[in-house]
Subunit: 457 residues, 2 copies
C-alpha cells in the first residue's frame, strides 16, 4: 500500500489522469502471458522522461518497487510486479520522434508498438529486423527489456544488435544518455546492451536510437515437408553448415501442423512428420540462387515435397500459419507453456530428438515449434496448471529439457526471458561468481533494489 | 616500485620466465603508438586464466595498478601504464581453442593476432569481420578492449557485434563467464559488450567466443576519382541513402593520394582532389548489380574516372595503397596524429568541408582519410610534438574538430578509443550524470581502482 503522501506526490508528478489505483485497473496490470499474478498498489502512466524521473525519484526515496510494462505480452512474467508497488505503464510514451533513412536509424519512445514502427519505416523503404511473434501489439520498450528476437534472428540478429543509443532513467531518477546516431562510437562505456534484456531491473528506457535496414528487393519463401522429423532437423544443420544465411528456418512437427490446420485450414500437409518454412531475402538474382541451393539440401535430406510461395499472398499465408501456432495451441487447453531453451545450430538434431523422448516419456501433449536456424526451440506444452499431477510431470520434463540444453552447450532462454518463469534455473547456466557480479551491477545502479525486485538476481 | 614480497608472490604465480623488471623491458612496455610514455614497475606474462586471476588477486590486495596489453598498437595511449604498477602482457595466451564452422563461431585466447585468426578461418571458408588497419599485428584482446572497427564496419559492424561470450577476470581475481555459442541467449545480463571498449578498466578478457561469417563468393572493388572533394563526400552520402550497403567506402584527399603515390607508386591519380575506394561483396550476381548502381551514383556526383579492380591482385594493390596511408604519413614528420571523430553518414560532406577549413586556417599539413561510409574520419596531421608553437595550433584545431562533431551529432572517437589522448574531451560528449554512472560501474567491478587507473572516468 502506498501512503497518501506518496500518492499525492505521484499525482503531482504525472497528473490525475496518470495515476490509477482502482481495483479493476490493478487487476489488469497484475499479469502477463505467463500464468502467475501479483497485484500492484498503483499504476502510473508517465508521458515524458521528466515524469519517469520524478516517479522513480519518489519511489526510490520511499523504497517502493517499480515495475515497468509495455503491452504485457511477456510469457516469462517479467512485467508482473512480484513485490507489488508501482507499475510504470509506458504506453503513453509512444511517439516515433525521428526517422532518418539517410543515417539508417530512428529515434523512438519506448511505448511505440513494433508493428507501428514497421509500418512507418516501410514508407521509407526500410524495416526494423527484430520481429517477435507479438509484434503487432508488443512495444519497443518491452522488446528492449527482453532483448526480443523472432524468426529473422538467424540472418538479422536480435534487439541488442539494433541499439545505437539509449536514454535511460536510473532508480534514483538520474537520467543518462549514451550512444548516438554514429555507426562507430567508442565514446564511453558501451552501456546500451547491458540494459537490453535486463527486464527493467537496471533502469527504464525512455528513448532509443535504433538501427534500421533497407527493405530487401526480393524475398522467397519455401515450405519443405518430411516423413521423418530427424530429416527435418538435419536439413537445418546442413543448410547452415553450407554457408547459406537464410532469413528464417522455422520448424513444425506433426502435432503443430495439425493444430494449425484444424484452426486455419491453410492446406498444410497433415501426414507430414516435419515441416520447414524457409525464407531468404536480398537482391533478386542472389535470392534465386540461394533458394535453389536450399531446395537441393532439403531434397538430399529427404524432403518429400518442396513448395515455393511465389506471390506475396502465398508467402503471407505460410507465415500466417507459422505465426498462428502459439494462439492455436493456447486454445487447446487452459494453459500453453512455451519453452525456449536454445542450442548451437549444429546440436539442433540432438535437441529435437532429446526433447521428443522427454515429452513422450512424461506422457505430455507437446507440439514442437522452433526457430530452428538459430537453434531456438519453442516446444508448446498443452496443459492445465490446476491439474497438479500433470503439472508435476510438466515441471519434471522442463527441468530435463534444461539439463539436455546444458549438455548440448545451450542456454536457458533464447528470447523469452527469465522473469518469474526461469529465475530458479539461472544457476544451472551461470556460475556463482557470475551471479554475484550480476548482483554487484544491480546494486551499483539500483542500490535500494526498487526496480522490478525479485527478478533475475 | 613493487616490494620484494609482492615480487616473490608474482613469480610464484607466473613462474620466473613470466615476470620481468629489467629496465629495457620496462621501457619497451612504457609506450604505444600514441606519443606519451609511462614506465611500469614490472611486466607479467600470464599463460592461463588461473595465472591472470592470481596476479589480479595479488595486485588488488596490494593496491597496485594493472594495465593489460596486447601488441601495443593503440594510438590513444590505452595500454600505457599511466600510474605505473604491473603491465599484464597477454601475448602468451595466443591459442585458437576451437573453430566451429557449423556453429559459425570460434573460441580464442586474447593474445591471438587478428591476422592469424583470419588465416585459420579462411581455410574453413570463413572470416572474422573486424579488420583494424593494425590487423597483421594487433591481438583479439586489444581489439576487444578498444572495440576495434576498420573499413568493413559499414556493412559488417565492429568488434562488439561479434562477441558471443566472454570469460573475464575481475580486479579481485574473480573469474566470470557469460554468453555462449548460441545466436540467441538472454540468460543473465548482457555483460559482454560492457567489457568491449572499456580499455581494460573493468576486467581482463581471458577467453572469447566470437561469431564468424562465411566468406562471400564474390568481391568487387572500384576506385572513383574526383576533381572536387565535396563531390567525393556527396557520393558517399548518396550511395548510403540509396539503400546499397557496400563493405567499405574509403575516402582520400589529394594530400594523402600524393603521399601514398610518393611512397608506393601504385599509379594513383596525382591530380585528383578526392578518391573513393568502394568495395562490395556477396553473391556474384548481386555484387555485379550493386557495383553498377554505385558507379552510376559516382558518375552522377561528378566522378571523372571510375576504375574497377577485376582481379584479386588489382584489388590487393588498391587496398595496399589505402592501408599504407598511415605509415606513409607517419614517415613524413616526427609525429603523425590520426584523429577519428565520427559523424552520422548524412553529415559526412559538412564534416569534411568543415575539417578542411579548420586545418587550413591553422596552417597545418593534414591529409584527410576516412572510412567515409560509416562517417568515421581519419585526418592525418603531420607534425612534431617538440615544436611547441605548431603543437598549440594542432591542439586548437583538434578541439575545433570535436566541437564541429558535436554540432553534427557526431562522436569523439569512432574506433581508436579514449585512452590518454581523449579523456579530457569526454565531457564534451557525455553529460555529468552519464559520467557519474560510468564511475559507479567502474567502482562496482573494480572497487580498489587497480585496472588501468586514470583512464576513461
Amino acid at each position: 500500500m502506498l501512503d497518501q503522501d506518496l500518492k499525492n506526490k505521484l499525482v503531482a508528478a504525472v497528473g490525475a489522469d496518470g495515476f490509477q489505483d482502482q481495483p479493476e485497473v490493478l487487476y489488469s496490470f497484475s499479469y502477463d502471458a505467463h500464468f502467475e499474478e501479483s497485484r500492484p498498489d498503483a499504476v502510473v502512466f508517465p508521458e515524458s522522461t521528466t515524469e519517469v524521473s520524478a516517479v522513480l525519484g519518489l519511489a526510490d526515496q520511499a523504497g517502493i518497487p517499480v515495475t515497468a510494462r509495455g503491452s504485457g505480452t511477456s510469457i516469462c512474467g517479467a512485467p508482473i510486479p512480484k513485490q507489488q508497488g508501482i507499475v510504470l505503464a509506458m504506453t503513453k510514451m509512444n511517439r516515433i520522434l525521428e526517422v532518418s533513412p539517410r543515417d539508417r536509424c530512428v529515434r523512438v519512445q519506448p511505448g511505440v508498438v513494433n508493428q507501428d514502427l514497421q509500418t512507418e519505416l516501410a514508407g521509407h523503404g526500410f524495416f526494423y529486423p527484430p520481429d517477435p511473434a507479438s509484434l503487432s501489439v508488443s512495444t519497443i520498450g518491452g522488446n528492449l527489456a527482453q532483448n526480443a528476437g523472432g524468426p529473422r534472428g538467424l540472418k538479422y540478429g536480435v534487439t541488442k544488435d539494433y541499439i545505437m543509443g539509449l536514454e535511460v532513467v536510473l532508480a534514483s531518477g538520474r537520467i543518462i544518455r549514451f550512444g548516438s546516431k554514429n555507426v562507430k562510437d567508442v565514446t564511453g562505456y558501451n552501456f546500451a546492451p547491458l540494459f537490453c534484456g535486463s527486464e527493467g531491473t537496471l533502469g527504464i528506457v525512455t528513448e532509443a536510437i535504433l538501427r534500421v535496414v533497407p527493405l530487401p528487393e526480393a524475398r522467397r519463401t519455401v515450405m519443405a515437408t518430411y516423413q521423418d522429423l530427424a530429416d527435418t532437423a538435419n536439413t537445418v544443420a546442413e543448410v547452415i553448415a553450407s554457408g547459406i544465411v537464410p532469413v528464417a528456418m522455422e520448424l513444425m512437427d506433426k502435432f503443430v501442423i495439425n493444430a494449425v490446420e484444424d484452426a486455419a485450414g491453410l492446406g498444410l500437409p497433415r501426414q507430414a512428420e516435419g515441416l520447414l518454412l524457409i525464407e531468404v531475402d536480398g537482391v533478386e538474382e542472389a535470392v534465386e540462387k540461394e533458394m535453389a541451393r536450399i531446395a537441393e539440401k532439403a531434397r538430399e535430406n529427404g524432403a518429400t515435397n518442396i513448395k515455393e510461395a511465389r506471390t506475396r499472398e502465398e508467402q503471407d499465408d505460410l507465415w500466417r500459419g507459422r505465426r498462428s501456432a502459439y494462439g492455436v495451441m493456447a486454445r487447446m487447453a487452459p494453459n500453453c507453456i512455451v519453452e525456449d531453451a536454445t542450442v548451437p545450430v549444429s546440436r539442433v538434431p540432438e535437441m529435437i530428438e532429446g526433447m521428443r523422448e522427454i515429452f513422450v516419456r512424461h506422457g505430455l501433449r507437446v507440439g514442437i515449434l522452433a526457430h530452428a536456424g538459430d537453434g531456438n526451440m519453442h516446444p508448446l506444452i498443452s496443459t492445465d496448471v490446476r491439474d497438479k499431477e500433470e503439472w508435476q510431470r510438466v515441471e519434471k520434463a522442463i527441468r530435463e529439457v534444461f539439463e539436455l540444453a546444458v549438455r548440448l552447450e545451450g542456454t536457458l532462454s533464447g528470447e523469452h526471458g527469465i522473469g518469474l518463469a526461469k529465475s530458479e534455473f539461472l544457476s544451472m547456466f551461470l556460475d556463482q561468481a557470475t551471479l554475484e557480479t550480476t548482483r554487484d551491477i544491480k546494486r551499483a545502479l539500483d542500490p535500494n533494489n526498487i526496480l522490478n525486485p525479485g527478478k533475475f538476481c
